[in-house]
């Protein structure tokens, strides 16, 4: 690549990366996620401290040893209280006067129905209530199941359902996978369009400020366009990588931390295996790159043929409207990734970045189709580059009226 293209890439990259919005948006994303995780965790921990000491009056004589470890794990201090006729009265006194937060009374009825009474000095949080309740019911079930001589632990941990797929088709609806596929596709849509739009704005700005004449007199218009696209693309990649790496760190480090603080959040841990691995991240980045090249080429041409921002937005509108189709289809494609419609739409290069992602995550795509879609996208990138380069070359120096379609065609032919 020639020296001047590198100069353009460096300029675009450094100017953008050093700007305030880039720093804010790049660091802001992970910070926001961190905040969303840390704040609830903080309150969980803090809330727990006020509700520390809990006495358990075990009238059943079998539940205390099962419940206690579970509650200790939750950060509670537990002490056993023997049953005697006036126990409630004296504990009530102790709680209101001393440092006892409250006490639970378990009896024979608890063993049958899971019912119990909790006396507390301050109202517990809903999560804590849930913890207490599940601790009791779990203990009861354990006891009852053990009496029947079954493997209570295996049953209570949710059993184990192993999946034997008879066909390649697979539908995922309410699984975490659905959200990874859906949000991933939507995220790709946003980042690709955002950065393609940046290319358009930058082109338009160069054109309206007339700097472009100086630049074009020193280098091929095509090189300028290429440098601009690569520079902006590199900025997008930088941002994506920062997000992916920090997201990974936050989730990988954060969720176990959160769960250790509050074991009641154990279900969150089931999300972890659903998160994309290194292969998926690579695919995501590749889809971004190809999608960005296709759309930024189109946007550069739009920027070059227009004179004002409003004009450019108008010309860009049909393109954005077209993109409504894949976004509307994402959820259908995730649920039924192998239908003919899903296949054809996902192979249409301009839709591939979003729909291929959806199909891969939901597991319904043969490898050859992924390869084919990338090949098709590659051809599209080259075709767009060729056409957009020609429109760019003529348009970038044009002032006045926006070209009509026949005029555009002439530009492409004659450039």
């Amino acid at each position: 690549m020639s020296v001047n293209v590198w100069a353009v890439i460096r300029r675009e990259y450094l100017q953008r990366v050093r700007s305030k919005w880039f720093v804010i948006s790049t660091l802001g994303g992970p910070l926001l996620i961190l905040l969303l995780m840390v704040v609830p965790a903080y309150f969980l921990v803090r809330g727990g401290q006020a509700e520390q000491k809990l006495a358990i009056v075990d009238g059943s004589n079998v539940l205390y040893e099962r419940i206690a470890p579970y509650l200790v794990n939750e950060g509670l201090e537990v002490e056993e209280e023997r049953w005697y006729p006036d126990v409630v009265t004296s504990l009530r006194k102790e709680a209101t006067e001393g440092d006892l937060w409250g006490f639970i009374v378990l009896d024979e009825l608890t063993l049958d129905t899971g019912e119990a009474i909790v006396y507390v000095t301050t109202r517990p949080s809903p999560i804590r209530q849930l913890t207490l309740q599940s601790a009791i019911t779990r203990a009861v079930m354990e006891y009852q199941l053990e009496r029947l001589g079954v493997d209570a632990e295996a049953l209570l941990s949710g059993g184990d359902l192993s999946l034997e797929l008879l066909s390649e088709e697979r539908t995922s609806t309410e699984e975490p996978q659905f959200w990874v596929a859906y949000l991933g596709a939507f995220f790709l849509y946003m980042v690709i369009l955002f950065y393609a739009d940046s290319v358009m704005r930058a082109t338009l700005e160069e054109k309206t400020s007339r700097i472009v004449e100086v630049i074009i007199s020193s280098m091929e218009p095509w090189h300028l366009m290429l440098g601009k696209i690569l520079g902006v693309g590199a900025v997008g990649l930088t941002q994506l990588l920062v997000w992916i790496v920090s997201g990974f760190l936050i989730v990988a480090g954060g969720i176990p931390l959160l769960v250790s603080l509050s074991p009641g959040l154990i279900p969150v841990e089931t999300l972890l295996p659903a998160l994309p691995g290194i292969g998926m991240v690579t695919l995501f980045v590749c889809l971004f790159i190809f999608g960005f090249f296709m759309y930024s080429g189109l946007h550069a041409a739009v920027g070059a043929m227009c004179n004002t921002d409003q004009e450019a937005q108008q010309v860009r509108l049909p393109m954005v409207m077209l993109l409504v189709i894949p976004i509307a289809m994402v959820s259908v494609v995730i649920v039924q990734p192998m239908t003919a419609m899903s296949t054809w739409f996902s192979l249409f290069p301009l839709f591939s970045p979003f729909l291929i992602w959806a199909r891969v995550v939901s597991g319904g795509i043969p490898a050859w189709q992924i390869g084919l879609s990338f090949l098709l996208m590659l051809f599209t990138v080259l075709a767009i580059a060729w056409i957009a380069g020609r429109i760019y070359k003529v348009g970038i120096l044009m002032a006045g009226k926006r070209p009509t379609l026949p005029e555009l065609w002439r530009w492409v032919k004659e450039a």
Partner: protein, 318 residues
């Protein structure tokens, strides 16, 4: 056949935009090392002409050669171009911007950085080197733009209206720098609609009007040849004696009248008519014609349009 004695050669160049002909059958050479003015009123085709020389536009008919090759091959590294409508990257600092311009023309980054700072220092912008261009005044921005044109030390400078927008003081600074480049052997082609300025700086001029070339000659030779054509008069009394077949047109400057004579007309007969009419003549002086007057004579008054010199006012920016 490409002739290397010329820095620029335009042969039978025509450029149309739709139905509008911007440049018509233009033949025009700039010898190497010359400082040449492309002169004409607004809309006469100057900028189109320069853009074709720079390879930004391509002629519909005819050919352009630049430093003995086609524009596309040489323009990048060996030519410095200052367009009429100049832009900057407002968010870049002066040195970043200038280094960038040097770099896209093949100068290394460190060298570009050094030259940027030297130039900024030389034009009195040393303290602004690390400021964003948007913080600079318009005049300062124009200086930066000019530095951007010469930062890669081109052998040919093409300047489109380089003086427009500059105050007289800075016009002088720029004029000085242009002369300096000229004395170092750089070929310079500048377009202007200010004839006085062209007259001061240029060795050669090419006058164009309505897309066509009117004149293309060495300025000294041209003036010598046209010497018989202009008479300056100052007098008191009726101006009836100035109505005669010898006179093509008249305009006023500093309280004196400049009579532009028709080709081959005899100024003696005018003087005779004046003396006979009884007016008091204080001055009757056959002078070297000014460029404006030569232009008017060759192109006709109507084609001068707004060529920088309203009929009765002459601006001397000294």
């Amino acid at each position: 056949m490409i002739d290397t004695r010329y820095a620029i050669r335009l042969s039978d160049v025509t450029k149309r935009f739709g139905n509008h002909t911007a440049v018509s059958e233009l033949n025009f050479d700039v010898p190497r090392g010359a400082i040449c003015g492309l002169i004409g009123p607004n809309g006469s085709g100057k900028t189109t002409c320069l853009r074709m020389i720079m390879g930004i536009l391509h002629p519909d008919v005819g050919s352009v050669s630049l430093l003995g090759a086609t524009p596309d091959d040489v323009r990048r590294k060996r030519v410095g171009y200052l367009p009429e409508e100049r832009g900057v990257y407002r968010k870049m600092t002066c040195t970043e911007f200038l280094t960038f311009l040097a770099e896209i023309r093949g100068v290394s980054r460190t060298e570009g950085w050094k030259r940027s700072n030297d130039w900024l220092e030389r034009l009195g912008l040393g303290g602004w080197a690390d400021r964003r261009i948007e913080a600079l005044s318009k005049g300062m921005q124009q200086k930066v733009q000019f530095i951007g044109t010469v930062i890669h030390e081109p052998e040919l400078l093409i300047l489109d209206e380089p003086f427009s927008g500059l105050d007289p003081l800075n016009q002088d600074v720029l004029e000085e720098i242009i002369r300096d480049f000229h004395s170092k052997g750089t070929t310079i082609l500048l377009s202007t609609h200010l004839m006085d300025q062209a007259e001061r700086i240029c060795e050669r001029v090419c006058l164009i009007s309505n897309a066509r070339k009117v004149l293309d000659a060495d300025l000294k030779e041209l003036k010598a040849k046209e010497r018989t054509g202009v008479v300056v008069v100052r007098f008191e009394g009726s101006n009836q004696w100035l109505e005669g077949p010898e006179i093509d047109c008249i305009h006023e400057s500093n309280g004196e009248l400049h009579l532009i004579l028709k080709d081959g007309a005899d100024h003696q007969s005018i003087l005779k008519r004046g003396l006979e009419s009884g007016v008091k003549i204080y001055r009757f002086d056959l002078v070297e014609p000014r460029l404006h007057e030569i232009f008017v004579r060759h192109a006709g008054t109507e084609s001068v349009g707004d060529a920088g010199m309203p009929k009765n006012v002459t601006l001397e920016l000294q």
